[in-house]
């Protein structure tokens, strides 16, 4: 492991200042559960790390203006514990199969997004839930759909001087007469059931209108250079009656939309087949939640 400086700012300003000043290789540090592995494998060799643990502005989960604001430093463990996440079943399910309890206590949501691994487990649920991401730097704050944030494996739209400050999720209350009931589901297929890297992962979100699927979002992990939406598969279902035939067709299309690779964990062909199986199962599961 190469030596580096560790900055431990107490305020968001100080953190952003450091990022703005330092034009050498500088990296934010969340829970460190990816960063430390990468450092040891020499995949990254920063001169400076900015630890965000002490920055209070990046913590906390609040509900305001029909949105859930999830602070960047929110840990995976907190997603499981905090009742504010109850409406987001897919996110909860992803958190519950994430790594192991020890890692879940340190790993942060921003770290998972920041790593931009195609297999990051929080990413498909966030995409299916249509999350927005807020990025801050010394000079500006910008908000964009998370779907625009991922550019490729480990490549994002974030500039070196920017931090992820929060994630925002739209909260619709099921009590309100105008909005339709919504439901989501997530599945991770690994080589084993804990501490595994996803072979494939599937998140779906449904909005129901009687016997119809009014709206749908399907997101896939580990089967493309970045977490992706299966938009053509969604089209098959959107506005249609919930039926076995549509479901099967949508699942089939999802499996052709993705572009998995073969590696030591699974072949591309197996991954494709599993996408078809789990897209169907997750839509069924989400539908059953209504």
């Amino acid at each position: 492991m190469r030596e580096f400086d560790l900055l431990q700012p107490k305020t968001l300003n100080d953190a952003l200042e450091a990022l703005a000043q330092n034009n050498a290789t500088i990296r934010p540090l969340g829970g460190g559960t990816d960063m430390l592995v990468d450092l040891r494998a020499r995949r990254v060799q920063p001169d400076t790390l900015v630890a965000l643990q002490g920055v209070n502005e990046l913590r906390g989960v609040t509900r305001a203006n029909g949105h859930l604001h999830v602070g960047a430093s929110t840990t995976i463990a907190e997603i499981l514990k905090n009742p504010l996440f109850a409406p987001f079943n897919a996110l909860r399910q992803a958190a519950s199969v994430f790594a192991n309890p020890m890692i879940r206590n340190s790993a942060t949501i921003a770290g998972n997004i920041g790593s931009a691994s195609p297999a990051g487990d929080m990413l498909p649920p966030l995409l299916a839930l249509n999350a927005q991401i807020e990025l801050v730097s010394r000079n500006e704050t910008r908000v964009m759909p998370l779907s625009e944030f991922f550019l490729g494996p480990r490549k994002t739209a974030k500039r070196a001087d920017e931090l992820i400050s929060s994630i925002q999720l739209l909260v619709t209350s099921n009590q309100s007469p105008v909005s339709n009931p919504q439901s989501s589901a997530f599945y991770k297929l690994g080589l084993r059931q804990a501490d595994a890297i996803s072979l494939v992962s599937v998140a779906v979100w449904l909005e129901r209108d009687g016997e119809k699927i009014r709206d749908v979002r399907i997101a896939l992990g580990a089967v493309a250079p970045r977490p992706m939406r299966a938009t053509r598969a969604e089209e098959i279902l959107r506005g249609q009656i919930f039926s076995e035939t549509n479901l099967k067709e949508s699942a089939r299309i999802a499996s052709t939309e993705c572009s998995p690779i073969s590696d030591l964990r699974a072949s591309a062909d197996y991954r494709r087949r599993m996408i078809a199986v789990y897209v169907r199962r997750m839509i069924e599961q989400a539908w059953q939640h209504f």
């Binding site: 494998a41 080589l191 072949s267 197996y270 199986v277």
Partner: protein, 798 residues
């Protein structure tokens, strides 16, 4: 049998320390003035070192070692085999790297950080050589030799075509046997190279003293073999080499041999003149050892009514970069494969080949999970083809009580004197609902359910009437303290399975004292007599046997001294635990009022200056009785994903007298847990192009199944046979390795029952199952097509 102590569950003596984290493992050992070591490991699979620039590392204040600085004596790390069969092919640090992760240099420095820095400062110039990941390529005509020659019994033996060792065994005349067969079955089975995945990584602390002696705290299964090897390599007389027993965090066979880091640590300590600590990282550990990968080709002839007429076994084992015990492996592969069956004629041809991969070594079962997977799969298949119940077929060809048993191979023969197999098969079949199992290949639909069965065994130790190819004996020293408590001084290691607990129980049972009064002393090589190693399922049977022998001697002394004090004939006395007095009490049943506690007796001895009641004994068991295990697995396959769920596992054990019931059950559950990983999930692949471990030594892939997918305890049904092994201490045999051996075959057979498909390659992953199902569907579709075409042709003809 009625026992006072055996068969009861007590709190483990080391239990609280282990669950509270206060137990001391090697990595917890901290000594004054201690330095820290790091090892430089080869990034290449096969490469010669041209030069190592140490200037920068030395400038940092580190001590540096390379091949040039260490003894050049070639050693074999597992001195269990006798010298004529001990293939010595390695040195403390390697002159050339034979696999990725091979240790080629080492540093020690006052802090870990500095050591790491110094390590990074070493500059190596390499000459890269062609490497081989496949034994077939390694054997090719012009292949680069991985070893030119190895040291065997004092002479250099040239290695040709990278074949480490080959062995043939012939019983009768196989050709004749096959002539008598009505059917001949032939299949090839391939197993995987899995990592032991023991909790503790290999570690060592070495403390050198000014008089040239060393004290070593290693991760090991044998303190005495470690001592002898260190003495030999560093030319230190044995009384100056003290190896301490330190608690070990699991091993699964990975520390039968003296781990390669131990002599490196010692060499550094001797050079630095400081205590040195060396703790392997998980990555380093993964480059240190794997289970032998074997390709087994079986050919079995049977008569129409299901009698085996002949067997031909061809084995190819992948040794990796160093030959730890391939000769012994080939021997046991023959034994494990053939032992349970009556083969009138048998031929075994085994070959073990060097490759540029992590060295292979014993892992829970030492070749037995591999052999049993093949043998129990093929016998299941034969039974199905002959339309016989597999249980019936197996019993029909079973060696059975009184039969000669090969066990460890042709040179280690013993007679079966206790046999729980028929009972275990009967009880297991009943518990799983064997007769109600589906007919193979008849199910359709998403979920398919199957029941499979396999049996197996492991020998309790490697003892035999005559000296064999491996060393097998133990020793124990027992003394009675002046308050009636007992010290048991025994060199054996307890890997967590409760071996030392069992030894304490055997001693308490024989001496008639409460178990709390028996202490297992800390052990080191200065104060214990020799024990070969805790391996080969020999702990209770052989190690316990030695302790039992010493206890019998001490008991004799107790009665002799008590007879003086009580004025009764020694032969008339008995001793029993008195739980109110918390003492063993000695008395004569005819005069029960004349009694004395062991504590009072021992005190009296001291007051009278009579001496100490104590004995030291060595024991070689002249048998190695098979500990049998039967597996019945009930599983469900999701044919959409290939995912297998274990519904129930019924595991039967014949370990003779059950000494530690809860721990015996734990062994069976543990055997299942390791076995499921082997059967369905675990694998280590090497990249043929680069010679790298594809997982790069990171423990992300190929892991053991998680606790969350293990069958729930209530779905694991364990049962034991009512057997008594006449040669064992209080009728006990072993259990540990037997517990896992039949697992993979039971899964494969259950999968056949569910799907009608035979799997001959481990691990049987979800992906492989799905691929096989697909191929099967396509085949069926093709058959249907052909039938339809044929019909059409017929119709057209009409």
């Amino acid at each position: 049998m009625n026992y006072q102590i055996l068969g009861n569950n007590y709190q483990r003596k080391d239990g609280i320390g282990k669950v509270t984290g206060s137990e001391t493992y090697t990595s917890d050992v901290i000594l004054p003035r201690m330095w820290h070591a790091r090892v430089l490991r080869s990034p290449y699979a096969h490469a010669r070192i041209i030069s190592i620039d140490q200037t920068a590392a030395k400038a940092l204040g580190a001590v540096v070692l390379t091949y040039a600085d260490v003894p050049h004596l070639k050693y074999n790390e597992r001195i269990v085999s006798i010298p004529p069969h001990l293939f010595r092919d390695r040195t403390v640090l390697a002159d050339k790297a034979r696999h990725v992760g091979e240790a080629v240099a080492a540093v020690a420095a006052p802090t870990e950080q500095l050591a790491e820095k110094a390590l990074r400062a070493l500059k190596i110039e390499w000459e890269i050589l062609p490497h081989y990941t496949d034994p077939a390529d390694a054997q090719s005509e012009n292949a680069e030799p991985i070893h030119d020659a190895v040291l065997l019994n004092g002479e250099m033996k040239p290695i040709e075509n990278n074949v480490a060792v080959a062995r043939t065994v012939n019983v009768g005349n196989v050709d004749e046997g096959f002539e008598h067969a009505d059917f001949i079955f032939e299949r090839e089975y391939l197993t995987s190279r899995i990592y032991h995945a023991q909790m503790e990584t290999k570690s060592c602390v070495c403390d050198p003293a000014s008089d040239g002696s060393i004290t070593v705290y290693p991760t090991t299964q044998s303190i005495h073999n470690t001592r002898q090897l260190l003495g030999e390599i560093f030319n230190i007389p044995l009384h100056k080499v003290n190896v301490k027993r330190v608690a070990i965090g699991g091993t699964f066979g990975s520390s039968i041999q003296m781990n390669s880091i131990i002599p490196i640590c010692v060499a550094l300590a001797l050079k630095a003149k400081h205590p040195v600590k060396l703790v392997s990282t998980r990555e380093e550990d993964m480059y240190d050892h794997v289970r032998y990968q074997t390709k087994l080709k079986l050919k079995i002839g049977v008569t129409r009514d299901g009698k085996i007429t002949a067997g031909h076994i061809q084995a190819l084992a992948d040794v990796g970069g160093h030959n730890i015990q391939a000769y012994a492996l080939l021997s046991v592969l023959a034994g494990w494969s053939a032992s349970l069956y009556k083969f009138p004629h048998l031929r075994f041809e085994g070959k073990a080949v060097y490759t540029n991969k992590t060295p292979s070594c014993a892992m829970q079962g030492f070749g037995n999970p591999q052999a049993t997977f093949a043998m129990e799969s093929l016998t299941d298949e034969i039974a199905h083809e002959l339309e016989l119940d597999p249980i019936e077929f197996k019993l029909k060809n079973y060696v059975g009580l009184g039969g000669t048993f090969w066990g460890q191979g042709p040179s280690v023969q013993s007679i079966i004197r206790s046999d729980g197999v028929p009972q275990l098969l009967h009880d297991g079949a009943q518990k799983i609902g064997w007769r109600a199992r589906p007919k193979a290949g008849t199910q359709t639909g998403r979920y398919r359910h199957g029941i499979g069965m396999a049996r197996g065994f492991h020998t309790s130790g490697a003892g035999a009437p005559k000296p064999g190819e491996v060393i097998d004996y133990s020793g124990a020293f027992i003394k009675i303290n002046e308050d009636g408590t007992v010290d048991v001084v025994h060199a054996m290691m307890d890997h967590g399975g409760g071996t030392l607990e069992a030894i304490a129980k055997i001693v308490a049972e024989e001496l008639g004292v409460p178990i709390e009064n028996v202490g297992i002393s800390p052990a080191d090589t200065l104060t214990t007599v020799y024990d070969v190693v805790t391996h080969a399922t020999r702990g209770v049977y052989a190690g316990g046997g030695a302790a039992h022998k010493a206890a019998l001697k001490v008991k004799q002394q107790i009665f002799e001294y008590a007879s003086r004090v009580l004025e009764l004939q020694a032969d008339s006395l008995v001793i029993e635990p008195d739980y109110e007095l918390r003492q063993g009490v000695i008395y004569c049943p005819n005069f029960p009022e004349r009694r004395i506690t062991l504590g009072a007796l021992a005190k009296q001895l001291q007051i009278n200056s009579w001496g100490t009641m104590a004995a030291v004994e060595s024991l070689r068991q002249v048998n190695c009785p098979p500990a049998f295990v039967t597996y019945f697995i009930d599983l469900t396959v999701d044919t959409e994903t290939g995912h297998v769920t274990t519904n129930r596992a019924v595991i039967g054990s014949d370990c003779g007298t059950v000494v530690n019931p809860a721990m015996a059950i734990g062994q069976l559950e543990g055997g299942l847990s390791k076995g499921v990983g082997y059967a369905l999930v675990e694998d280590n692949q090497w990249d043929a192009q680069t010679g790298q471990l594809t997982s790069k030594g990171f423990w992300i892939d190929g892991k053991t199944p998680a606790i969350s997918e293990a069958p729930f305890n209530e779905n694991i049904i364990t049962h034991f046979s009512d057997t008594y092994e006449p040669s064992g201490p209080f009728g006990a045999k072993g259990i540990g390795e037997a517990a896992t051996n039949p697992c993979a075959a039971a899964y494969a057979n259950a999968l056949y029952n569910a799907l009608g498909i035979r799997f001959t390659e481990l691990p049987i992953t979800a992906e492989k199952i799905l691929r096989a199902l697909n191929a099967e569907e396509n085949r069926e579709a093709r058959v249907e097509m052909r039938e339809m075409e044929a019909m059409a042709v017929m119709q057209a003809a009409e």
